[in-house]
Structures are given as structure tokens and as C-alpha cells.
Amino acid sequence: MRDGLPADRLISVPTITVWVNGTPVQVPDGAMASAAFLAAGVPCRRSVTGEPRTALCGMGICFECRAIVDGVHQRRTCQVPCREGMRLETQP
């Protein structure tokens, strides 16, 4: 069956480890920080009324994926490539 390739048929790329709210998460090398939040199942930020939000547009337009990256607030995580040991935190 050719459609719906199982995960093990995906090209294996080296992974790196980043920290999402203090928990280690493995992501493929070259992944964006937004992918780490999605992999961890953790929101990037809380909205002004407290709703959990994750990346939406994936291209730096909507600002839904804003989070804290290595201590810096308001980074659009869909535009920030992950680096080994990067610390990512949900923005309150």
C-alpha cells in the first residue's frame, strides 16, 4: 500500500533534545520550536481569556505560537529553528 506511509518509512533524520516546560522532548534536527510544543502536547501560550493556544498559520503571520524561547518572551516559535538544549516555555 503506497498511500499513508507508516511512520517507519519516513526518512530518519537525526534528532536533538529541547526542553518544553522543563521536560525533555526529541525533535528532528531542523525542526521549528513550534513542533516541539506540538510534540509535547503543550500550549505555546495562554490567550487573554486564558485559553490554551498552539500554532495556527505556521508562517509567522498569526502570532498564536508566541512563547518563551531561552528566556525571551514573544518569540514566534514557527519561525525559530530548534537548537540542542533550547529551553521552551509556555507564555502565560
Binding site: G4, C57, G58, M59
Partner: protein, 450 residues
């Protein structure tokens, strides 16, 4: 200080997607000194976004050719820079998030290739984690988000839906349904138009083969996303009945809208269009302003082939090669006709205007619900009364939504075009005033930019 460097370009290109790459390559090969700015980490725009590969990846020869030619040219690419304003004539400033600094670029000829974004429409549950734009989810998957084994509903409108669904399957997802809001009656004339674009038929056929076990429903749209903390199902309708499709993710976008913020800020004339304003250009892609050109989706959504031709024409015209530019007009016009057919085929049905409930959030930055907007007479008034469109995205998401829902147009574009941290503005203001004092040290009382 390195923060305050001014760079000069004979031709400055904003946007390194297909149109911007084509423009830069053509202008550089014609001998111009070209600089290209882009907000993303790399060139390619959204359609040619790089990232984490899948084993089923097809070689894309158009992409490969464009990248080879662009990299072989003398055009210099500066990524991670979003243009924020135009403080003086023939001057743009860009903010670099990585360094936290503002950079200044001066130009003789300017080419705007700012691309398009998805139109996202509010419906109950659309702010739940697990709901994405259609192209949005595709971009995030390229950015390393694994969808292997996930059940995904792809919904909305436009040719992008099939491309996204095929792409998600290639990454191991189980696409359970593709729901296109346009009805079959609107799509049949579009299919006929395709006969004069054989390349596009071939592309479409490839998607259909990849998706042969997936239901592609026309005249079908989402009415609600369900779940408490995250998405568990989507409610779909065909106008007659409503059913529930259990899924892990929803990829939903309603075709594209041009990114016209920068052209509008500069004062370029726009063409008003019910599906979104476009930048007005002449045959050489020149805007209403002298020495300012525009290419690709901002001039009207017409797809990749049109963008590449428009880019080449703009690049040649900006580099003073009018005859070479003219040779491409006919081909470009043919591709633009395809864009017109797209607009007709994927026109939004009025049912989409009544999906939001009173409590449904319309402005996601400021969490403004539909009920607070209903009574407003205009977007200007809505901004003042509710803060709709006043958050960090500055109305890029809710703007096209309120245009669809209420017919409001955004008539005020103000700098900065994107939020800039105060620290960057303060250091920039200090340095500017240092320059004004011609060599004197900046005074401690230098006022920060407000």
C-alpha cells in the same frame, strides 16, 4: 555600533518566495545589485518551504531550477527580517528577531513580493488546539511536527486543500476526509479551464492518485470543531445534513488573501475586490508609485506559475530591460487568467458567514467574540470599542474574517507593520539622534520612540 547599519541596494526585493526569487534572479542577472529580505528562516516562501523531508518526496524540478538560479546569481539574501516601516522616501526598516535590532535599507528600485496568507474563518471551536490552517498544518509538518498515524480532516476551500491532503498522507497521516465548500457546479467550469493548463492537470491527477482512498466532498464545510482541551471531532455539513467526523487534527483554510500591508503603507493603489484587495500594477508589474513594483499573489491570487513570470517581469523592468520583460507578457497574462478562474470557482458560499455563534472568538489576539462585533458599524469603530484587530497580528487573521462576515475593509495601515520590542525601538531612536547630532554622544534625555 553594528545595530545601526544602513545598507543600500540598487534593487531591493521584499519576500523570497517564488516571485521574489524570480525577480531577484532576473534583476541580478541583468547586472543590478540586488538585496532580498525575508521574514522566514530560508528562501522559498510557503510553497517551497524546506524542512524535514519524507521518503515519498517527489523531486520538484521547478523548485530546484529556481533555487539553483537564485543561488548562482549575485543577489544577496537576508532572512529572518520583517519589514516594519518606511520612515523616509526610498527607505525601509526591518526588524531582526534573532539579534533584536532594527536595520535600515535604502533602495533605488523596490520589488514587493510579499505573498499571500490563508483566509481563516471563525466557527465554534476553531481556537481549540488541534485546529490549524490547511497550509498552516503543512508548514508545521515541514517544520518537524510529526503527523504519522494521526487522523486528519482537511476542510475549507481552494486548490491548496488537495495539495495539503496529499502532503499529509506522504508524512504518514490518515486523511479521513477532504471537504471543499465550493459546489460541484462552480468547480466544473474550473475543470474545463484546466484543459488549457496541462501541467496543472498532471499535478491534480497526481494528488488524486495519492488520495484515491480519501473522500473528496464538494459543497461540504465545517460547522464546528469539538473537544474540551483539544480537538476530538469535526462537525461537517453539506447544507442538508450534519455529521460528526472523529479526528485528531483539522486543517482548515478558505483559499488565500494577498498580503497588501506593506504596499498599502507605502501608498501603492489597491484594487478593491470582494475576495480581498490586490495591489494595482501595470503590464511591467509597476505599482502606482514610481520605481515600486509588485509581483506574485499580492497582485491577485493566481498561483505559482503566474508568480514566477510576474517576478521575472518585475526584475527585468526594475533592471531596465523592458524588451526582455515584454517578451513574457503573453505567458503571464495566460497564467493570470487561471487566477480569475480560481476566484470564480472557489468563491465563498454565504453559509460560511453564519457559522460563528455569539460566544465564538473572532479576533484571536484579543479574544473578541462575535457578539461584541455584531453591533459595530465598521472595523474602525470595532477596533476602538472592542480592540478587534489591535493585537500582535494587527488584523492579519481577523481582518479577512470580518471582511467576509461583515463586509468591513481595513482602511488604516500604520507602522510598525509588525510589533517590535520597545528595547529595539529605544536603541534605534538613541542611535538616530546620535547621528543627528553629527558625532556627539547621545544625550541621556533622548526620548524613546513612542
Amino acid at each position: 555600533m553594528t545595530a545601526h547599519k544602513t545598507q543600500h541596494a540598487q534593487v531591493l526585493v521584499v519576500g523570497a518566495g517564488p516571485a521574489g526569487m524570480a525577480a531577484a534572479t532576473a534583476a541580478a542577472n541583468a547586472g543590478a545589485h540586488v538585496t532580498v529580505l525575508d521574514d522566514n528562516p530560508d528562501a522559498g516562501g510557503q510553497i517551497w518551504r524546506g524542512g524535514v523531508p519524507a521518503s515519498g518526496d517527489q523531486r520538484d524540478s521547478a523548485r530546484d531550477r529556481a533555487f539553483r538560479a537564485f543561488r548562482a546569481s549575485t543577489a544577496s539574501l537576508q532572512t529572518g527580517r520583517r519589514v516594519i516601516d518606511a520612515p523616509r522616501p526610498r527607505t525601509l526598516r526591518a526588524f531582526s528577531e534573532a539579534t533584536g535590532t532594527i536595520e535600515t535599507f535604502t533602495w533605488e528600485q523596490l520589488i514587493l513580493a510579499t505573498g499571500a496568507r490563508e483566509r481563516l474563518l471563525p466557527f465554534p471551536g476553531w481556537t481549540l488546539p488541534g485546529v490549524f490552517g490547511a497550509g498552516g498544518l503543512q508548514a508545521l509538518v515541514k517544520g518537524g511536527f510529526s503527523v504519522a498515524g494521526k487522523r486528519i480532516v482537511v476542510a475549507g476551500s481552494g486548490p491548496l486543500l488537495l495539495a495539503v491532503a496529499a502532503h499529509l498522507q506522504q508524512y504518514g497521516a490518515k486523511v479521513v476526509s477532504v471537504a471543499e465548500q465550493a459546489g460541484l457546479r462552480a468547480l466544473i467550469p474550473f475543470a474545463a479551464t484546466l484543459c488549457s493548463h496541462p501541467g496543472k492537470v498532471w499535478q491534480g491527477a497526481r494528488y488524486r492518485v495519492a488520495l484515491r482512498n480519501v473522500g473528496y466532498r464538494t459543497g461540504c464545510w465545517p460547522v464546528a470543531a469539538q473537544g474540551t482541551d483539544k480537538l476530538t471531532a469535526v462537525r461537517l455539513t453539506n447544507g442538508e445534513r450534519i455529521w460528526t467526523e472523529p479526528c485528531d487534527l483539522l486543517a482548515c483554510g478558505f483559499h488565500l488573501v494577498p498580503n497588501t500591508e506593506l504596499p498599502a503603507l507605502l501608498g501603492c493603489s489597491l484594487v478593491h475586490n470582494p475576495s480581498g484587495d490586490c495591489v494595482a500594477v501595470d503590464a511591467t508589474q509597476r505599482t502606482s508609485l514610481e520605481n515600486v513594483y509588485c509581483a506574485g499573489e499580492p497582485t491577485g491570487i493566481a498561483g505559482l506559475d503566474a508568480a514566477l513570470l510576474q517576478g521575472r517581469i518585475a526584475g527585468l523592468a526594475a533592471a531596465n530591460r523592458p524588451d526582455d520583460a515584454k517578451a513574457l507578457f503573453k505567458q503571464r497574462d495566460r497564467e493570470q487568467a487561471f487566477g480569475k478562474a480560481l476566484d470564480r470557482a472557489f468563491a465563498l458560499r454565504s453559509d460560511l458567514r453564519s457559522l460563528a455563534r455569539p460566544e465564538t472568538i473572532v479576533c484571536r489576539c484579543e479574544d473578541v467574540p462575535y457578539s461584541r462585533l455584531q453591533s459595530q458599524p465598521s472595523w474602525t469603530e470595532a477596533k476602538l470599542q472592542t480592540r478587534c484587530g489591535m493585537g500582535p497580528c494587527q488584523g492579519r487573521i481577523c481582518g479577512p474574517a470580518v471582511q467576509t462576515l461583515f463586509g468591513w475593509r481595513n482602511i488604516s495601515i500604520r507602522p510598525p507593520l509588525f510589533p517590535v520590542p520597545l528595547s529595539a525601538l529605544v536603541s534605534e531612536a538613541t542611535l538616530e539622534s546620535a547621528g543627528d547630532l553629527s558625532g556627539e554622544r547621545p544625550g541621556r534625555d533622548t526620548p524613546p520612540a513612542s
